[in-house]
């Protein structure tokens, strides 16, 4: 890859609603430009995380350089920055967009514009990107490209005249997309001789190279051997390597110039030294101002994460730090629980984000976790006028000190085939939702808008919605604001002892049902023990539900046959091992799984 003049560089990303074919289009572009030979391709190259491929979603943004020889005979350098599609990862999208001049907007030819399509378009417009609409999946029988084109023109106001009609899966129309990128995405601007300003839009940890920054050079040039400075921290490092990412890995070059997208390695040991959103400059010839960073995002959902085996606390801490390196939206602070010991209160952008982080901790770091029920951030107004933000039910002040409480509400959008409108309305009603609007879109689909309390959304809303609509409904939400609400703290008592890790904050009207349902689930999750265990749900001192785990009646091996005691010894070892996964709550042994069972839907 030779150095290419700035005017032949195109930095772009692909934005789409989840499942509209973004990753498949990325694959085709890589294939067409010859970066990946066909035989090397597994599906969805950019989704290299095991989790991403399994779930068919993109979590992290990635940058890949593709050399491209256009039909006019000119060589271009195309930098594709892949972005996540889900609402929880808006922050990541916004980071990726700051590194681009253009965005390909992929819209499904049968599904049309979805909530997330719009959200991403607005983000792209905020960053002054040139938006190139592309209609995908035109080979499907249900494709209605003309309807979708009109929708794009009407709802977004983009010109769809001559926009590529493609099938990324079948490889139709990919050349048109490449042509559009070359013709319509503006080349980057910036002066290679100006003081260096490189925006960090992502970071990774490499065992050999140390912490690595993914950067977009806005101004100046950076070369191996340069002394660089992180403008936020002021820390300085010597550049050991610069280059571009290819699907095959690092591709070192001598320099990166204004307009380039690539990486900088500088033997940075401490991952905290690289802050996504920070600007890298040259220590000898520094820029006077950092680039505008990203506005920090506030977590919306919190939960406690504890190691199933207490001795893994340090490993969990290390893993969370590693994940935060390239996921600045992950927040965590140490906390302790009487039942669970030492762990972390972790904040997430949404439920999917929470699930993804939990799964990554378990898979990539091989940790066994205990997770507490997710909570939103409540505002507690005390009688003395103080206002507290509470993300852990345990920290709720005594009832007498509380004047009133507020809970976050979201603007929720559900799009579904019209057949399920009744079911969806029932569900939103059950979840304390307020109906706002209903629109028929096309092809028998309906868009519903509701105001919903976030704490209902994070419980089991999504799973229930999917099951009641046979998976057809899609769901999106954004934070709307705080609303005064009649909330109570629901505690669970095991053998009359309160278990802090099981407390939740719920609306008063829902407390009875939730209390009963949690008690039932705990009854199934807690094994019978030597004595009878009452399980009670309580609000303040008042018991609202009770279940009982009956005393163990039989736990004995009938026979030690012919003097063979190995079987009995093995059983004993297994029981001793099982005890390690138990948490002691007063006199009751509670398996780690029981804390999770509480989160499961009915």
């Amino acid at each position: 890859m030779a150095q290419i003049s700035q005017k032949r560089i195109r930095n772009f990303c692909i934005i789409a609603h989840i499942d509209h074919g973004k990753s498949t289009l990325a694959d085709r572009l890589l294939e067409k430009t010859g970066v990946m030979a066909l035989r090397d391709m597994t599906d969805q190259i950019l989704d290299s995380m095991e989790l991403e491929r399994e779930r068919g979603i993109t979590i992290k943004s990635k940058a890949v350089r593709m050399p491209y020889k256009a039909p006019d005979g000119e060589e271009y350098e195309l930098n594709l920055i892949d972005t996540p599609g889900h609402v929880d990862f808006t922050y990541e999208v916004s980071r990726a967009l700051a590194a681009c001049e253009g965005a390909i907007l992929v819209v499904d030819a049968s599904q049309g514009i979805e909530a997330q399509t719009l959200a991403n378009v607005y983000l792209a417009l905020d960053h002054d990107l040139e938006i190139l609409p592309v209609i995908n999946k035109i080979d499907l029988p249900s494709a209605q490209p003309e309807v979708v084109k009109k929708e794009i023109e009407d709802e977004i106001g983009l010109d769809t005249e001559g926009c590529p009609l493609i099938s990324a899966k079948a490889g139709i129309g990919i050349e048109d997309v490449l042509r559009d990128i070359v013709d319509r995405v503006p080349p980057p601007e910036g002066d290679p001789d100006a003081p260096l300003q490189a925006l960090i839009f992502d970071s990774y940890y490499d065992n050999y190279r140390g912490a690595i920054s993914s950067v977009r050079l806005k101004e100046g040039t950076v070369s191996v051997g340069d002394r660089i400075r992180m403008m936020a921290s002021g820390h300085e490092f010597d550049v050991t390597e610069v280059g571009a990412f290819t699907p095959n890995g690092y591709y070192p070059t001598k320099t990166l110039k204004a307009g380039d997208v690539g990486y900088i390695a500088a033997s940075i040991k401490d991952i905290a030294d690289i802050r996504v959103g920070d600007t890298i400059t040259n220590a000898v010839k520094p820029a006077s101002e950092p680039l505008p960073g990203y506005k920090p995002v506030l977590p919306m959902v919190y939960c406690g994460i504890y190691p199933a085996d207490g001795s893994d606390y340090e490993a969990l801490k290390d893993a969370l730090e590693r994940l935060r390196l390239n996921d600045a939206s992950l927040a965590f602070d140490p906390e302790t629980s009487v039942a669970l010991g030492y762990g972390f209160r972790c904040g997430f952008l949404g439920l999917l984000h929470m699930e993804i982080i939990q799964e990554r901790l378990e898979r990539e770091f091989d940790l066994d976790l205990v997770t507490t029920a997710p909570s939103v951030v409540y505002r507690v107004h005390k009688t003395d006028g103080e206002m507290l933000s509470i993300d852990n039910p345990t920290n709720l002040p005594p009832v007498n000190d509380i004047d009133f409480m507020e809970e976050p509400y979201v603007d929720a959008h559900v799009i579904s085939p019209a057949d399920y409108v009744g079911a969806i309305m029932d569900l939103c009603q059950e979840k304390r939702g307020t109906f706002k609007d209903m629109k028929y879109i096309d092809g028998g689909r309906v868009a519903l808008s509701y105001d919903l309390p976030l704490n209902e959304v994070i419980y089991d809303f999504f799973d229930t919605l999917k099951s009641r609509t046979r998976g057809y409904a899609s769901f999106d939400y954004e934070l709307k604001g705080y609303v005064r609400s009649d909330l109570v703290k629901l505690d669970m008592l095991l053998n009359s002892e309160m278990c802090d890790a099981l407390s939740i904050i719920v609306h008063k009207d829902r407390a009875y049902a939730r209390g009963r349902s949690i008690a039932e689930k705990l009854k199934d999750a807690i094994p019978r023990q030597l004595f009878e265990i009452p399980i009670q749900a309580a609000i303040g001192g008042k018991i609202i539900a009770r279940e009982t785990v009956k005393a163990l009646r039989k736990d004995v091996l009938a026979k030690c046959y012919g003097g063979d005691i190995t079987r009995k010894k093995k059983l004993l070892e297994k029981q001793k091992e099982g005890k390690k996964r138990m948490r002691q709550v007063g006199s009751v042994e509670v398996p780690s799984e029981a804390f999770m069972a509480v989160l499961k839907m009915d």
């Binding site: 004995v556 091996l557 009938a558 030690c560 003097g563 010894k569 029981q575 005890k579």
Partner: protein, 373 residues
């Protein structure tokens, strides 16, 4: 030195539905060769341990009673030539009702067998056939009476409970009918579904339902009432006997005395080393004999607690303190105080024993004890 001897006979007429023991149908033709191997093994043991004294012999299986009377005689003759049988030796043979007749019983009585354990399992033929046993209840009655006629009065009957399709009445009636046979010893085992057995697969497929733990315990409790009416006493979790007829061989296992296991799959504990033999085909080829595992002090303590608390006599705390230290003994007793308060245990002199309630949850109790050690 002394050591009891267990001889494993892995031959069966057919495999029962619940059985995962070392046993094979259709291999009886190898019996002569197999017995020769067993006696070779005994000779090797003599070379290693000398001609030790033998308080008890147990010929188990499989179905030892499938062997011919001469074959059984050859085993016992061979062993008594090699080792010093105690004068009051207990020699037990397991038998399947329907595989013995008067002649065989008289012969083996003369060869030294003075205790027979019949695998009766249940008094209902429909249950027996669902377990794929080869006998009917009438065979049990006949076999017991023939054994008594042959002069063997120390007779045990094995029964099973928590069987598929078995009602409380079925089991109580099995116990009553067994006790009516004027036997000296009764063993009652609750069914354990073992992976790989036919019954396990049937249960997995939902073709049979097995009574749950609560039902199983109730069955046992009712049976104990019947047994106690006849003045028979429980002396171990699954074993009941008239005074003086407790199985001495089994007590050797539970008190961790020496025992030498001969034959395929047999387990031994000799001078604090545990080892076991390979399964049939390797055994016949003379391969795969296990390494001796020396038992650490801690394991010995675990085993002591685990085995002695199986007996109604209980854990001998004086001996425990001598063997494993007073500090550990105190910790056991401290935890046991909780058990005693909860009605799971009792203290009789130096012995800590589990009550009927305690025995039902023996595993949970010993895990709690071991946590403190």
């Amino acid at each position: 030195m002394k050591a009891s001897i267990y001889v494993h006979v892995p031959f069966c007429a057919s495999k029962c539905a619940y059985c995962d023991f070392e046993s094979y149908a259709g291999k009886l033709a190898y019996a002569d060769e197999y017995i020769a191997r067993v006696l070779d093994e005994a000779k090797r043991a003599k070379t290693e341990y000398g001609a030790f004294g033998v308080p008890s012999v147990f010929i188990g299986g499989g179905t030892p009673s499938l062997l011919s009377k001469e074959q059984i005689g050859r085993i016992l003759g061979g062993l008594s030539d090699l080792f010093a049988f105690d004068k009051e030796i207990e020699i037990t043979m397991e038998a399947n009702p329907g595989t013995v007749d008067g002649e065989k019983l008289s012969y083996i009585r003369k060869a030294g067998v003075n205790r027979i354990s019949f695998g009766a399992q249940a008094a209902q033929d429909v249950i027996l056939s669902s377990l794929e046993r080869i006998h009917k209840w009438v065979d049990v009655e006949e076999a017991v009476s023939k054994a008594q006629d042959a002069g063997i009065d120390n007779i045990n009957v094995d029964l099973m409970y928590a069987l598929p399709g078995q009602t409380m009445d079925d089991f109580v009636s099995s116990v009553q009918k067994a006790l009516d046979l004027n036997i000296r010893h009764l063993s009652m085992y609750s069914l354990i579904l073992e992976e790989g057995t036919k019954l396990f697969e049937r249960a997995e497929r939902g073709e049979v339902t097995i009574p749950g733990d609560d039902e199983s315990v109730s069955m046992q409790e009712r049976a104990i009432e019947e047994i106690e009416k006849r003045c028979m006493k429980r002396y171990e979790i699954s074993n009941y006997a008239y005074p003086g007829y407790e199985c001495r061989h089994n007590i050797v296992y539970w008190t961790r005395k020496n025992y030498l296991g001969l034959g395929s799959g047999a387990h031994s504990l000799m001078n604090e080393a545990r080892f076991f033999n390979p399964c049939f085909s390797s055994y016949m080829n003379g391969e795969g004999f296990g390494e001796r595992e020396m038992i650490s002090e801690y394991e010995r303590m675990e085993e002591t607690i685990m085995l002695e608390t199986r007996m109604t006599r209980g854990l001998d705390m004086e001996a425990f303190s001598k063997a494993f230290g007073n500090e550990r003994a105190q910790r056991v007793l401290k935890e046991a105080d909780e058990f005693i308060k909860a009605g799971f245990a009792e203290k009789n002199g130096s012995f800590l024993s589990f009550t009927r309630e305690g025995m039902n949850v023996q595993n949970a109790l010993i895990v709690k004890l071991l946590e403190k050690l």
